[in-house]
């Protein structure tokens, strides 16, 4: 059984923070590079539709930088950062709720409750999940992977995907649904094999 992964070397972040506090602001780049991916991954799966994940992630880093003196070296910087991110996300969701047509366009209440429930899980699980997902993607044959590539990498319209694959648009949608289910099952199976809560 593997132990749960963290976010890399904690002392690296603490060293960088020490340098920032001494005036070497550029050292904050080390912190951003270490945590940008797990933070964006966590936000991506916990933010309801309509939230600009990169924007919230950047604002979280900026807030962390501004309040860096509050952070106690040697404790858990990742936990501190993710707490800031949770508040930032809440603020953004509150802002969106004030937008007149937000509910009509995204129906966020559909997901909100479930996403919030899942948000209580340790943030580092998303990083693990992301790694498993990449392995699961690697196991797909080209005939299936091409749908993922078209939809998410090349971002081509469904109509074009239908033409390329010789299927109907409805069949392409169904294929994407099946692929997402398949990948979800693959990731959860790997998580379970490592003893991680899913």
């Amino acid at each position: 059984m593997m132990t749960r992964k963290g976010f890399g070397n904690d002392s690296l972040a603490d060293d960088a923070i020490r340098r920032v506090r001494k005036g070497d602001t550029a050292a904050f780049e080390v912190v951003v590079r270490q945590f940008e991916r797990p933070l964006r991954a966590w936000l991506a799966v916990h933010a309801p539709p309509g939230v600009d994940v990169d924007e919230v992630a950047q604002l979280s880093f900026v807030a962390a930088f501004a309040r860096l003196s509050d952070y106690e070296l040697g404790t858990n910087f990742a936990a501190w950062l993710f707490t800031i991110a949770r508040f930032r996300l809440k603020t953004e969701v509150s802002r969106l709720r004030r937008v007149a047509d937000y509910h009509v366009r995204y129906a966020p209440d559909l997901l909100q409750r479930e996403l919030e429930r899942r948000g209580s899980a340790p943030p580092e699980l998303q990083e693990t999940r992301l790694e498993h997902l990449q392995k699961c993607l690697g196991q797909l044959g080209e005939d299936l992977y091409r749908f993922i590539r078209w939809r998410y990498v090349e971002e081509i319209p469904l109509e074009e995907m239908a033409a390329l694959s010789g299927r109907s648009v409805a069949a392409v949608k169904k294929q994407l649904w099946k692929l997402r289910r398949k990948l979800h099952a693959c990731v959860e199976m790997r998580m379970a094999a490592e003893g991680e809560p899913s």
Partner: protein, 464 residues
Amino acid sequence: MNDDERFIELWNDYLEGELDESRIAEIRALVEGDDRLLRMAADSYQMHRLLGLIAQDTGSRQDDFVAETLARLPADDDRFIEGVMQNLSQGSPRKGTTTRKLLAKWPMAIATAAVVVLIAGVYFQRPSAEREIAKITGLSGSLQWTGDGGRVFHDLRVGAELPGGTIEGMVPGSWFQLEFNDGSTVTISGNSMLTFSDQGQKKLHLKEGSVSGRVKPQPAGKPMLIYTRSAMLEVLGTQFEVEAGLSATMLNVSEGKVRVKRLSDGSTVDVPAQHRVIVAADREMSPVLVPDSVNRWISQLHLGPDGTQGKWSPKTDAEDAKLRAIPYTTPQGKTIYTAAFGVSRGDRPPVVLQPASRLRVRGRIASTHKVYFGVTVKHAGGEFAGRFQTIRPAVEFQNAQDFEVILQFRDFRLDPSLIEMKNELPSAPFDSVVESFWCHTLDKQAGLEVTEAELIPTAEHESE
């Protein structure tokens, strides 16, 4: 079709952003009270988001993210630049927006090389034979300076001293402020082109765009001269703003007095403080009081492309008139696709933002992409007051769909590239005059088109 099949069909459309209101209501009814479907929806949504993240997580995207984040850090002093410069052992550090951007965007090794090149460029490429007549006191956005017998420079920085030459703003958000040796300042903003010289008398040629100035008293018999295609202005010491078009020049005087000569017939007129005049061959040249400001503005694309930047298309039977974003590639290789509208321009009254002002933008996008919306604002006297922007996520702009967004100005933030000047600029755009409204996408031609933009002053009973 059973509930599960219907749910799958609807949820796929939801993730693709293709659900209308009635079908959103239908899916809500299906999921309501069915935890199994809700979990399935959340699983699918999270997988969808993770796949999107993985697909776009290229090295350059991560670099961009890091660069954008670093550029947004509060800059309470120049420690960032100084720290790097000291690490490079390149001697005394100097402040510079361009340098900061380079450092933020590129890996350190490349940035190191860039700083060395930049310093070498500034110190060694500058012509020693020409006398410096002014220094740069502020800049942002893409700019191009042509001097030294036609050599073109992009790596400008605050504090650099310049001989005469031509400065050009390349995008609607460009801004450049120059201080002459006697303390007089001139500022260009947006797509403007200004040639300046001082051989004992300051002479400016404004080919297009706008320039504002705060001019110290000039030597007797040697006023600052500003030439446009249609007018010549004599400035003795005053605060003013000039806007030059192909066939007309608009002069707005805040303080002092400016003498204007119409080039087509040689007629002259003195424009006193708080007055403006339009100089054109086909209209009477008489100064009028600067009109009171207003809080409402609407684009009028059906009247033509005047004052816009972008590819304009007239109204047809099937479509409204529209303005399509056009690309500009920076010397660093980043491409920005922009559509922009002049707001307080020509003989229109100045448009002032209120805290509760909103901006409604209608348009269309060919492919899903996040969109930046912003305004460039100025003080009543014409001085630059900042650029403020908000970013709306890609999910609001679906493939080949019309969009309408309502933007609240309380959500607008100072453009990160101006962060070094935050103490000199207002923290919000309120009570400032809107010079231009712009929107853009980055790095990808998303086919952004605007059909209408409207600044709406919120009625009292609506304001919070």
